[in-house]
């Protein structure tokens, strides 16, 4: 009887095996392996050499500049996306407009980046425009300007969506109340609308900042070797230099930064 019951219990738990196996093999093991490899030097011996190397000016400068670019991209995206989301909520067919914002976010990222190879090229449409207005041809491709521009272009829809969602959840009577109490438009925005939609801004920041640190294909295609982000450095170490130890060390730092950002932008629901 007892055996039968245990067997029953065992078969009932059997369905969990594939999922738990997935957690062990593809969630825990990979993180463990990255951590393990970060302590191996290029010959495969245990050492702290990679961490020492990471704290040399070369890598610190790279990390800082990667941060700076990610910050710039996030800030510009936010400045463009917030008013767009705000205006979208005021349109008549807002679900349709929202769908139109979503469509570009579904197009393969590489194709969007490739489009800018044509637009920013030496004889591209952007340069023709610059020539018409009298500035003359410039080197646009493979500069940090084009990297920031293309990144902002790619991340805008991802920034708009969460902000739009939190704006739609905003109770409009609160805005009316603020107006009735004599608040100016700017005050209403600063004291009522923005604070109540901060969760949307936080999730938008999350989905922009972390990819901006790590999307190596954008820097490779658009910025040439002008911009090295953390993601580019990892790809470089793993696939070009074949120094998996150093690549893993940078990956460990990227994970740490990611966790920190998640903690800062962690959205807690607050009822209104």
């Amino acid at each position: 009887m007892m055996v039968k019951m245990m067997e029953n219990n065992f078969t009932r738990k059997l369905y969990q095996v594939p999922y738990l196996l997935w957690i062990v093999l593809f969630v825990i093991a990979p993180i463990g392996l990255v951590l393990y490899y970060s302590f191996l030097d290029i010959e495969g011996h245990f050492s702290f050499e990679n961490y020492g190397k990471f704290f040399t000016p070369v890598y610190l400068k790279m990390t800082l500049s990667s941060f700076w670019y990610a910050f710039l991209i996030t800030a510009i995206s936010l400045v463009i996306a917030y008013p767009t989301a705000l205006l979208l909520t005021k349109t008549k067919h807002k679900q349709l407009w929202l769908l139109l914002i979503i469509v570009p976010s579904w197009i393969n990222l590489l194709l969007k980046a490739y489009a800018f190879l044509g637009i920013f090229g030496t004889y591209g449409i952007a340069n023709s425009f610059l020539q018409v207005i009298g500035i003359g041809r410039q080197q646009l491709l493979f500069t940090d300007f084009s990297f920031v521009f293309v990144s902002v272009y790619i991340f805008i829809p991802f920034m708009i969506l969460p902000i739009f969602n939190s704006l739609s959840e905003l109770n409009p009577t609160l805005i009316d109340a603020a107006h009735d109490l004599g608040a100016s438009k700017w005050t209403v925005f600063r004291r009522v609308i923005f604070p109540l939609t901060i969760n949307g801004v936080k999730s938008g920041t999350q989905v922009t900042f972390i990819p901006a640190l790590s999307l190596f294909m954008l820097t490779r295609l658009i910025a040439g070797n002008r911009v090295i982000t953390l993601g580019t450095a990892i790809e470089q170490q793993f696939l070009v230099t074949q120094d998996w130890g150093m690549g893993s060390t940078i990956a460990v730092f990227l994970i740490v930064i990611m966790v920190l950002i998640m903690l800062v932008t962690n959205t807690r629901e607050r009822g209104v």
């Binding site: 999922y19 593809f26 205006l87 393969n108």
Partner: protein, 264 residues
């Protein structure tokens, strides 16, 4: 809305769509460049459809996506059930946190760590390693699509079925699975699009022999402008529109909260 506000929105939409239509426009160029439009021609499309290597890659990509979506949906549904059935709250939260790790991790990290994993495990890089990683990164999204459906299901449904003498298997196949079917379908669809769209992870774990469309586009684009890619992007744009429409109907049917943001 003031005219200025309208103008602002129009400009944003122009900026968002201009590069895409720019690409498609030049796919009809009979010339070789993306700045000098000589005359209208379909020659790049013809070339595309005669490129057997590329067609095989497209086929590979589709087969891979279907297989990855199928397996990740099966394991994801089992996972969602495991999380739903977990009795203790801590177990539930722990499983959920593990589930979300791959969703928030940047693709480079997933790619790099899977590369180490496959090399250590002695799995040859190629179709199997790419398929395994696509299944792996699609599972958590399936779980997240199915779980809300499970939690909104009333437990008395299961109790009623048991009282009427249904076996565990019957409860599963006749009550639970039909109830969560829209979530399963949404999960399958999302897994499919994740797999079709993925570049970074595939780039790390694909060897020399196997390539997907994204990887192929990347290596073509690194070589510079080739209007082949433009023709390809026009076709993919139409295909993407189709996916968006399907996605729209799925969100309407499952009433997911708001419109989902795709992970990058």
């Amino acid at each position: 809305m003031t005219p200025w506000a309208k103008l602002f929105l129009v400009i944003i939409f122009l900026i968002l769509y201009a590069p895409i239509f720019f690409l498609i426009f030049y796919s009809f160029n009979s010339g070789e460049t993306m700045y000098d439009f000589e005359s209208f021609s379909l020659k790049w499309y013809k070339e595309l459809f005669h490129d057997t290597r590329l067609l095989i890659i497209v086929l590979n990509t589709i087969v891979l996506a279907l297989l990855a979506a199928l397996f990740s949906t099966i394991i994801g549904v089992l996972g969602a059930l495991a999380i739903y059935m977990a009795k203790r709250r801590q177990t539930k939260n722990l499983l959920l946190s593990f589930n979300n790790v791959l969703i928030v991790s940047p693709d480079v990290i997933i790619g790099a760590s899977f590369l180490i994993l496959f090399t250590m495990a002695g799995i040859k890089l190629g179709f199997s390693s790419v398929l395994l990683s696509h299944i792996a990164f699609s599972i958590p999204i399936v779980v997240l699509m199915v779980l809300p459906k499970l939690s909104e299901m009333s437990p008395s449904l299961i109790d009623a079925a048991r009282d009427l003498g249904a076996s565990s298997w019957n409860v599963m196949s006749k009550v639970i699975i039909p109830y969560i079917s829209s979530g399963i379908f949404a999960g399958f669809f999302m897994a499919l699009t994740y797999s079709l769209d993925d570049f970074a992870v595939t780039f790390f774990v694909t060897g020399n022999g196997f390539s997907t469309l994204s990887v192929e586009i990347y290596s073509l684009a690194r070589r510079g402008i080739s209007l082949n890619i433009n023709a390809l992007s026009a076709i993919l744009f139409l295909f993407t529109m189709l996916l968006v429409v399907i996605y729209y109907f799925i969100t309407q049917r499952t009433k997911l909260n708001g419109m989902g943001v795709r992970k990058r």
